[in-house]
Symmetry: C2
Subunit: 321 residues, 2 copies
């Protein structure tokens, strides 16, 4: 019994520098922290698997940052502030040390940008692809969390940023779409969590768009027992997405990590003010309305540029058949 | 846009019944809860991969319970009480629905036994083996968390339960060891987290034994800058482990999830009282002592039944070479 096994040396080398107060240097059985006084905790977890959620040859720094950012996006959708995170990494036993170094460097950079630290985790081997899981902890003023379920008849449907870049970016990153500037691939690899948009008292409901705009809008409808009409021509597209000319993919592809919100007309000015303060673009793309009585499955109608309803084979992504 | 994709139906069918207060029916972006007032939070995360941490054909209910229990064991080692957990499941797309049903049923049973509920998570597909990650949240009175680092010169080394059953159980479960009663395989598949042992004011340090007794004792030594002597003959073995007659494996094999503690002589009676109240067995197996000056790598000496020091090729398990 002399040296530490290399697993612990690996953790000490790459992950300990990410550890914050309460993490006990990642050398104990658990982390211990005092919750932010007078606030509610907001927690969420997401998994990412190589070949499913990211490309195996993506730069490891981008993989770590995407993992963190997709979780930060869940906090943003609740109107919460980041506090810390725990992460588990299952990687093949022959994963090069440089992979871990680059992965951790990406996380270190985002920790500074978004103001949170690593609290704990686990590193194991796997005979399969790299499998990552991250649990994020945040906080919010009591009662201020924005739910998915609060949309009301007549509320406008709003989104931050632009829609479709992530799905097009996957095509670009895999050589199936021309992307001369690299903008789309960049949007796929590095989503921008919309933290800091002051939604309390402004939005009746919110969620982040991860599985495709049309499918995710269905979630807001289902939670509120409402129907929705979405105007495709109003959906904000980046210049690169307009050039790609694949509207259906933009509306259903997912990986956007923009916020989708229900905002009443009387709060539109407040939303615009909040967006300006947060330096974000917000766009109204449709409206919620009461559905037919006795119909329990909500209906999302997408009006195309010609004003006719568009048909979709599938609304978005599902991991299971 | 009508029905939910099957991924969400799967979550609703199997995991929503596990969701507790604050989980928002697993239908929102995150869970929201009020932290236990006046207490510190204790958080830990562990990953488990099929073929590494459990056998692919283990009963799914046992897999779920082992995942939860290994995390509960981390709370036990800190002297904390369970509050809730988040879990991510990455499984092949063709995983039968019955697998998820049995997996969730095991968790449901343990949630009742240990008093906690599911707060959130994620379910994704993977082209590789089933990969699980669980983050546990617990709480403790401020300042009462038991750390790994507090052992003092002269403290006794104590363990709960019996050592070695988990490692022998893996041999038994894979047909490499006779286990007529099934006791050893049961101990491998279903560890018993030692929650409820009142360690505050009793133990100077504690951790759970997951990577092998000798290696994990090295962690306590390293954290306290002490050496240790372990008396192999004093290490408590189950009847089945004694019959298997493989002491070295018992001391280094891991998967025990018993508590390893540093307890001063003056608190031995208090420990015995606490163990009686918690209906646990505790055994003194050695002592901590000051190391040679200027030697920074701690030394764990294991005295065999003949009083001579035993030699080990490896102290315990490492995931990376």
């Amino acid at each position: 019994m002399t040296d530490l096994p290399s697993e612990f040396a690996l953790i000490a080398r790459h992950f300990r520098p990410l550890a914050g107060p309460g993490a006990l240097d990642l050398a104990d059985d658990a982390a211990v922290f005092t919750p932010p006084p007078g606030r509610e905790m907001v927690v969420s977890a997401d998994a990412m698997v190589a070949g499913v959620h990211f490309l195996p040859d993506d730069p490891p720094g981008f993989i770590g940052r995407k993992l963190l950012r997709t979780n930060l996006s869940d906090l943003a959708a609740m109107g919460a502030e980041p506090f810390g995170y725990l992460m588990t990494v299952s990687a093949p036993g022959n994963t090069p040390d440089a992979w871990f170094a680059d992965f951790a460097a990406g996380l270190a950079s985002d920790q500074v940008e978004f103001g949170l630290t690593l609290l704990g985790g686990d590193t194991t081997s796997t005979p399969g692809p790299i499998s990552l899981s991250l649990t994020i902890l945040g906080s919010v003023e009591p009662g201020h969390a924005i739910r998915r379920s609060g949309a009301r008849d007549g509320d406008g449907i709003w989104v931050t940023g632009t829609i479709g870049d992530g799905a097009l970016g996957l095509l670009a990153a895999t050589g199936r779409l021309d992307d001369p500037s690299g903008y789309l691939a960049g949007r796929y690899r590095l989503p921008q969590p919309r933290l800091g948009l002051a939604l309390h008292g402004v939005a009746h409901a919110a969620m982040d768009v991860s599985d495709g705009l049309v499918q995710d809008l269905g979630h807001l409808c289902r939670a509120a027992h409402l129907d929705a009409t979405l105007e495709a021509a109003a959906v904000p597209l980046s210049q690169a997405a307009r050039a790609a000319d694949n509207l259906k993919l933009c509306l259903t592809g997912g990986d956007d990590y923009e916020l989708l919100m229900a905002v009443p007309a009387a709060r539109e000015q407040a939303l615009n003010d909040a967006a300006r303060a947060a330096r974000m673009r917000v766009t109204r793309i449709g409206w919620f309305h009461a559905g037919a009585p006795a119909v329990t499955v909500p209906s999302v109608t997408v009006l195309g540029r010609d004003g006719a309803a568009m048909a979709f084979e599938a609304g978005g992504w599902s991991h299971f058949p």
